[in-house]
Symmetry: C2
């Protein structure tokens, strides 16, 4: 990609109405634009980051055995009426009527629809267990959305649902999802805590949140610095008490819920009469679990975790492009060499941007730091000596090297 | 994928309220389920087909130079008010209020938002031309949706938008999109006609539809069987007249509009004051184009084009899985060999299903024909002679071969 053609400008100033670093940096870097409070458009850089996260989530869901489906955003009122959530969701639910006067809503989540879908296709214990997932847009009204992508009104989410014949099976499916989540966060290099949480409007039994420690968060929890024990502050009643695990003194912390997983039991299946025939031929409601993961929240969490005063420092696996080729010399040989290396990188599968804009070197450096490409390949004055500078954004270390794909690959290999 | 674990059952009977073959076959094959009139859930097989089409569309858009973005479904009334389309869309538009009383709508298309987005980031002639695209869900109310996926109320669409400095540039962008569409249809093996069409609520000048000839369609057009000339019947006034190109006698035909592309000119940019500074420093509205492609309509068009009385015959590039391994022998050696070949196929990157269900051979054959995997790999009585049967769904030809990945690959290579 040529920076001169890339859609989305960088901004020098922090936009107004912005209360967290990720929100400011994502707007300033040209990743997102505000449509209205809590509703965003994703520009090419932001769309690319979403694709990276979606790819990792999809791979880990599939390798856990979950199957991908896609349910609609627009659903009939009857689905939520059947479980009492048409009222239960309160102001958070977007309700509407179509031109024929039929009551509809925009999915804040999909428990009712997936339960109804399952009941038409899972008729026997032989059809269980099953885990399905989708990556789909959710709609939740918040009176005063804050934290940028952390509390949006329309946002992409991965939601998975498990169906089992008995409680033991449900717990096994739940544990599989815990492992899949841990692998997703590990690959995305987000250092989350898993804490017991409040089920809220979802209901059901055991549930846990994946929380990234951050002063901007909305969840208070205790964490034992000795043994790593964590618990939701309110639910556990742990404030000021010693760690039940090791007797140590837990610290109170705050943290951007990224994921929330629930053992629902028969809460939905019973009231919706979603049943299968068990081994004895008896009609039995499914034992269910549901598993949410905020894709756009993960974008925000990444930026909150990886940035400095100059801009974003994307981990390599999540960066919109791995490399930026910075052409800061006016020398025509350097220009040709930069162009050649850029093309070779693209051909060899290294995703790269060449900053070919007619702007000063200072602007190019500032934008590269702001956008946060993991490696900056600098064609500057050292090129007269046949060398380029390879700067690693995460550490700000730089080294001189020969202008080759191999040098760039080596620099990338040393990145996070 | 094991058929015993695949979510989504096949149905023997044609569902009620179904008026086209694709709708019936996609429900019976376990690709989609009806949520309410015109609103669908996509089961794993259907989701996989969507992914295949999305992949091809994305590749061809990107290779034409278009950049991927993502705009929200939920937008404020003001956007449509600015161009008169809040009323203009009539009953087709889903309107709603959030809990604060603010008027919103669900995007039937995104001209206004993309124009506003462009005007914040495209300030100079140096920023032009630009083509952006998204793959996003659209919402359009139809009083009596018919044709299944051909006229859904919520459906995935690829929509692209071009911004140019002058009319000549706009026409160049338009031609580039025509080429990209032609490549998409060619790769998807959909034999469309490009005809001049009615701009409808979109407005603007020159516009063309990509239409698949089908008796179930809603668009009437004339086609000269001598020279291939096509035109919209109503707009061209061509009914009963000789072909203006060769003097031949055009036939009247009907066809599921799959794509519709428009030269919009300054229709949106002028009224929304979306302008750039031209070479002389003068504020000038963009010359725009917009380019729609119905992703789920393409699924329906494929099935309408490729099926027989037994079921679907997916072209290889679009099939949810390329191969089904049919275990129809009770012989334990055959069972082991089938399992082994299935695993080898998966390891070698051939997407495969093994039908390991405890059902009769007849049911397995019927389901394989209905779902439409391009190649059926049959472990039957010939396995005693060390051979498997390779059946090509599109032609119903079959041949005996050694049970190896190589044989399967060769059979696949001969598919469409």
């Amino acid at each position: 990609m040529r920076a001169s053609e890339l859609f989305g400008k960088t901004l020098r100033e922090t936009p107004s109405d912005v209360d967290v670093a990720s929100h400011s940096l994502l707007i300033r870097g040209g990743f997102i634009r505000v449509v209205s409070a809590g509703v965003y458009s994703w520009l090419p850089l932001g769309r690319a980051v979403l694709h990276r996260i979606e790819g990792i989530v999809r791979e880990e869901m599939e390798s856990s055995g979950a199957q991908e489906i896609l349910m609609p955003a627009l659903m009939p009122k009857e689905l939520l009426s059947s479980t009492g959530r048409w009222e239960g969701f309160g102001a958070e639910l977007y309700r509407l009527k179509d031109a024929s006067g039929r009551d509809l809503f925009l999915g804040p989540t999909h428990e009712e629809l997936v339960t109804s879908l399952a009941s038409s296709d899972l008729n026997s214990y032989r059809d269980l267990p099953l885990v399905v997932f989708q990556i789909q847009w959710k709609f939740r009204y918040a009176a005063r959305p804050r934290g940028g992508l952390l509390r949006a009104r329309e946002f992409p989410m991965k939601d998975a649902y498990s169906f089992d014949a008995d409680e033991e099976g449900m717990r096994r499916s739940y544990e599989k999802m815990v492992s899949a989540y841990q692998r997703v966060f590990e690959r995305c290099q987000i250092d989350v805590r898993m804490i017991e949480a409040d089920p809220g409007v979802m209901g059901g039994g055991m549930n846990q949140e994946f929380v990234l420690p951050s002063a901007d968060g909305e969840t208070d929890f205790v964490e034992c610095e000795n043994c790593g024990y964590t618990a939701n502050l309110e639910i556990s009643g742990m404030e000021g008490k010693p760690c039940p695990n090791c007797g140590g003194k837990p610290a109170t912390r705050r943290g951007i819920e990224l994921g929330h997983i629930f053992q629902l039991g028969t809460k939905y299946s019973e009231v919706m009469e979603a049943e299968f025939l068990d081994r004895t031929g008896k009609s039995t409601p499914y034992q269910m679990g549901c598993y949410g993961l905020g894709i756009s929240r993960m974008v925000a969490a990444l930026v909150d975790s990886y940035h400095d005063e100059l801009g974003i420092k994307w981990p390599r696996a999540l960066a919109p492009f791995e490399v930026v080729v910075l052409l800061v010399s006016q020398d025509s040989l350097a220009m040709r060499a930069a162009q050649k290396l850029y093309e070779e990188l693209e051909n060899k599968g290294v995703s790269a941007v060449i900053d070919d804009r007619d702007v000063t070197a200072g602007v190019k450096f500032a934008d590269a730091d702001l956008i946060g490409y993991p490696i900056q390949v600098i064609f500057g004055k050292e090129f007269l000596n046949g060398r380029i500078e390879l700067r690693t954004r995460s550490t700000n270390d730089s080294a001189l090297a020969a202008p080759s794909v191999k040098s760039v690959r080596e620099a990338l290999a040393s990145c996070l």
